[in-house]
């Protein structure tokens, strides 16, 4: 029974279709695991045992009735708490939304439900997805299953930690500047940021509308691709959703072939400031790809150096506007409503109490950057940089099929290490941010453990818009080659978590 939690989504699906395990058994195994280890990991903010078991039972009934089921039917999943699920508490990691139960399902959740995926619960995250460590959650920090004294990355630390801790085989994250890929790298799991508009944002509590992208988290490339296929595709409810077929990601993950593929190593993403162990594993992975037949060249993207400042103007600007709706009027927290205060005062008191320090910092930054007299210098300029970065990508893709870099400059840092240094924290997203600004596809795949700390290193693959399949092709090839070296996926190297129950 207990070994059910070690299975990949693909393996679980096989067990179910061959009748060796039911969705209810599988779901229960993961709920038990959550109960056993989540006290130490704190990946979940809300576990919906009842709802999950009911969904699982429904899938079992459908299977018994001989209905045609999707490849992930009955497989459990952990959902980042930033996506609405009807009737299930959704907080975006903020006090502002404590106890709020959305009256509607996000498109991602609708598609998961339609595919029979079992949603176990909502995972922890930095408040309103602002952060790179999940230390900004209003509900406490998530711990990295590889080393509980470390952060799991952010903002989707809960989602990645949940799959790394075997609490779920699959998870959904959202990536605005690296919030799927960076925690993926830090937890030794696969994290994919699909092409912007390739997955629907409807029901995703917005951080920065022009950057946010929901995507899959998994322990293997194929699992991620299967999940990608479930949640991707055009959505009439999202104006920015792309009206194009979903790229053949599953096929690409299965093919896992890089022979003849042109791979560009981004010159600007490496060197000074990068942890030696990270660089070493990255270069080994590049060599591995070369051995597998890829053609590797160095590529320059000169405007990437401006990505971080541009991002930290665009994101807070959009966020300051997106978060304006949290005014204590209609839902969520309300402070000071004792009949003596004006609506404006209640709003101020609520925001003071409901928003954390990082959220306030970014709202102030964004409000300033958009204000008249500063707009051109800040927001306008940042948008120009964004265009230049997109052009860097375009030029690079004239030479190569994919671009690669380390996913993060370092491995997972210690809890508390960077909380008082926002700039150091922001720098962690150096490699991931350009893809968000350009809107193209990118993913992080485990590529080994850093020598100095034994922690996972992420290999970052970037591909053109709607060529998400290329990321999976590279990830799949790398995973297969490394599995030969390690005797399995990287996750099998993770230390056993102490079961607290």
């Amino acid at each position: 029974m207990n070994d059910l939690i070690r299975k990949t989504a693909v393996e679980l699906a096989e067990l179910m279709s061959s009748g060796q395990a039911s969705a209810v058994e599988i779901t229960q195994a993961h709920l038990d695991r959550i109960e056993a280890v989540d006290g130490a990991v704190h990946a979940f903010l809300h576990v919906d045992s009842e709802g999950a078991l009911a969904q699982a039972a429904a899938v079992d009934a459908q299977r018994a009735a001989g209905e045609h089921l999707g490849p992930l039917a009955g497989v459990p999943l952990a959902l980042k708490d930033v996506l609405t699920q009807e009737g299930v508490p959704t907080t975006a990691g903020s006090k502002m939304l404590e106890g709020w139960k959305p009256p509607y399902d996000s498109t991602v959740v609708q598609r998961l439900k339609a595919a029979g995926v079992v949603i176990l619960g909502k995972t922890n995250m930095d408040e309103f997805a602002m952060g790179s460590s999940t230390e900004n959650s209003a509900y406490g920090t998530t711990h990295n299953p590889w080393d509980l004294t470390r952060i799991p990355g952010g903002s989707g630390g809960g989602s990645s930690a949940a799959i790394a801790a075997y609490e779920a085989p699959l998870a959904i994250g959202t990536d605005t500047g690296g919030s799927i890929r960076q925690p993926g790298a830090f937890t030794g799991t696969v994290g994919v940021k699909p092409t912007y508009g390739g997955t629907s944002r409807y029901g995703l509590i917005a951080l920065a509308s022009s950057l946010d992208t929901p995507g899959p988290c998994a322990r293997t490339t194929l699992d991620a691709a299967l999940l990608h296929e479930v949640i991707a595709g055009h959505d009439v409810m999202d104006s920015t959703s792309i009206e194009q077929p979903v790229p053949p990601v599953v096929e690409a993950a299965r093919r896992a072939d890089v022979a003849g593929l042109r791979v560009g190593v981004v010159k600007e993403l490496g060197g000074e400031g990068y942890q030696p162990g990270v660089e070493a594993r990255f270069h080994e992975a590049v060599e591995l790809l070369t051995k597998l037949g890829a053609e590797v060249v160095e590529v320059s993207c000169p405007h990437f150096q401006y990505a971080l400042p541009a991002y930290y103007l665009i994101l807070p600007s959009e966020a300051s506007s997106n978060l304006a709706k949290f005014d204590a009027m209609r839902y969520g927290l309300r402070v000071g409503d004792d009949g003596t205060n004006s609506a404006e005062t209640v709003m101020s008191l609520t925001r003071e109490a409901g928003f954390g320090a990082e959220v306030k910092r970014r709202i102030m930054l964004g409000t300033h950057a958009l204000s008249s007299g500063y707009y051109d210098a800040y927001y306008g300029q940042a948008q120009k940089v964004r265009t230049l970065i997109a052009r860097d990508f375009e030029k690079a893709y004239e030479q190569v099929d994919v671009l690669v870099s380390p996913a993060t400059p370092t491995t997972a840092f210690a809890i508390g290490d960077r909380v008082n240094d926002p700039i150091a924290m922001y720098k962690n997203d150096l490699c991931t941010i350009p893809s968000n600004l350009a809107g193209n596809a990118a993913a992080s795949f485990p590529c080994g453990l850093a020598d100095e700390d034994g922690l996972p290193v992420g290999f970052h693959v970037m591909a053109p818009v709607l060529r998400d399949d290329l990321c999976y092709q590279v990830g799949g090839a790398l995973e297969a080659a490394l599995a030969d070296q390690w005797g399995g996926v990287l996750m099998t190297k993770a230390p056993e978590l102490e079961v607290t129950r």
Binding site: P102, T240, A324, K325, D327, A343
Partner: protein
């Protein structure tokens, strides 16, 4: 609060008014601007809402293509250029009935811009330049409860209805309007009235000012006569009738003149219009520096109407009201003066509708500019708010044509209609107004008249048939007006052998 004003003539002797008009039009699309919620007016509060128009966390807007089509229609009808590529922007400000605390609007990239139109006042044509027509969404509606005034001050609590939140609006903004001062207020009124006709003709809005589907903000400033330096402007918000537009502009001219004459400064602010007292009062101060932190709405892709589509829409536009007026005048055979009276009396559309029901233009004009316009004037309402429509007018006129009513009786029927006494038939029945067509009753009355007026009969018999008129009058009096005068003459002539 009392505010000193000067006489309008004195104000205009010293200052030239400058106006700018912003008209908000609620479109009559079936669904809202950014979601599929219905837009029916008057529904139970908060029954026409969804996560999108309530601005719930995670919800996203999607542009209503029909609203874009309506915006293009309006732009074309106002001779605007239609943008090949335009965007929505967020206008960030706090308002309790605005769910997202930003309004999705258009800012520097409106769908229509650089247009013009014309209005006619007292036979003179004035050209109004259109700055832009842009798309945006309406806000919800607050009701302040527990106070005496219905305003937020003094209220114990406020209720918010989000049914209106997200209804598509088009804001039509004029460039600066500089017309001879004495015409300013009338031009403002004529412009709004013209817009209403136009929008109605386009079929894009119900343009019900009483329901707020057409709202006018009037910017007014004064500059000393002959000067080229603009003064400080005020913006009088949400003026909700044509008459009020005229009154509000006049009031602001007289108020600002008084302020300037006393050495004061006009404060740049929004002002509230008070229908009952005919004055404006200070709203919130509004400086140029008001910072809405506009930026392109990242949740919406740009709107790029293809030229083919624009031309297709242009092909569906109805005749421009000015062209149509000229055509109707020719068809109806009205003089310039008659047509001007019709237009100035806002009676064009009712007359068109009445004529369509088979009434002659002359008869339709007679009723609409006579009985009905008089009543509208006396009660301070618009013609279309009287409760008497083209159908009633046509029905009454039909009875006149059939000889069942004469004009005098018809006027009494209208009186009954205006007082809400029922249908024409019911009023005729209740008030006993039908013409007597029974020959025997008429003959009896004629006999009585002949018997009572031997001198008149004598005159007729002595070769003065015109004298018979007195007998007709006597018969009509006898019949209390309820006789067909022509019939009486016919019968009388037969009797007297004329």
């Amino acid at each position: 609060m009392t505010v000193d004003v000067v006489e309008i003539d004195d104000a205009l002797a010293q200052y030239d008014p400058v106006m700018g008009l912003e008209v908000h039009v609620e479109l009559n699309t079936v669904s809202k601007m950014f979601c599929g919620c219905p837009t029916t007016f008057g529904a139970e509060p908060n029954t026409q809402t969804c996560p999108v128009c309530l601005g719930l966390p995670g919800a996203l807007p999607v542009v209503n293509a029909r609203a874009v089509e309506s915006a293009i229609k309006i732009g074309l009808a106002l001779n605007c250029e239609i943008a090949e590529w335009c965007r929505f922007a967020r206008k960030n400000y706090f308002y309790p009935d605005m769910p997202k605390n930003f309004q999705t609007s258009q800012y520097d990239e409106p769908i229509a811009f650089n247009g013009w139109t014309e209005v006619v006042v007292d036979g003179e044509t004035y050209r109004i330049e259109i700055e832009r027509a842009h798309m945006e969404e309406d806000t919800g509606k607050s009701t302040h409860v527990g106070g005496a005034t219905g305003r937020i001050h003094g209220a114990s609590h406020s209720l918010v209805d989000y049914n209106r939140a997200g209804i598509p609006l088009i804001e039509i903004v004029t460039k600066t309007i500089e017309v001879p001062g004495e015409k300013a207020a009338a031009v403002a009124r004529a412009y709004v009235s013209m817009l209403r006709d136009l929008l109605l003709a386009l079929g894009v809005s119900d343009v019900r000012m009483d329901q707020g589907s057409l709202r006018c903000d009037a910017n007014v400033s004064l500059k000393p006569s002959g000067s080229s330096t603009f003064g400080t402007r005020t913006e009088t918000k949400n003026v909700n009738s044509f008459r009020s537009v005229e009154r509000a502009v006049t009031y602001e001219i007289t108020r600002q003149a008084a302020v300037l004459n006393s050495g004061g400064k006009v404060v740049q602010e929004t002002r509230h219009w008070h229908e009952d007292t005919g004055i404006t009062t200070s709203g919130r101060e509004k400086s140029d520096a008001e910072d809405y932190r506009y930026f392109p709405e990242p949740d919406l892709v740009p709107v790029a109407p293809s030229r083919e589509w624009v031309e297709e829409i242009r092909g569906t536009l109805p005749e421009a009201p000015s062209t149509r007026r000229a055509r109707l005048q020719a068809e109806w055979g009205f003089t310039d003066l008659e047509m001007r009276d019709v237009v100035n009396g806002n009676a064009l559309e009712p007359i068109v509708a009445t004529v369509e029901l088979g009434v002659t233009p002359a008869a339709a004009k007679k009723w609409w500019l006579g009985e009905l316009a008089r009543s509208a004037n006396e009660t301070g309402t618009e013609l279309d708010a009287l409760g008497v429509g083209p159908a009633e007018v046509a029905e009454v006129q039909k009875l006149v044509d059939e000889g069942a009513l004469n004009d005098k009786l018809a006027r009494q029927v209208f009186d009954g209609l205006l007082k809400g006494e029922g249908t024409p038939a019911e009023i005729i029945e209740a008030r006993g107004l039908a013409l007597v067509s029974d020959d025997s009753a008429l003959i009896e009355a004629i006999d009585r008249a002949i018997a009572a007026n031997p001198d008149v009969v004598e005159k007729v018999n002595s070769g003065k048939p015109a004298a018979a008129g007195a007998l007709i009058g006597a018969v009509m009096k006898d019949m209390r007006g309820q006789a067909d005068a022509a019939k009486v003459r016919e019968l009388l002539n037969a009797k007297l052998g004329i």
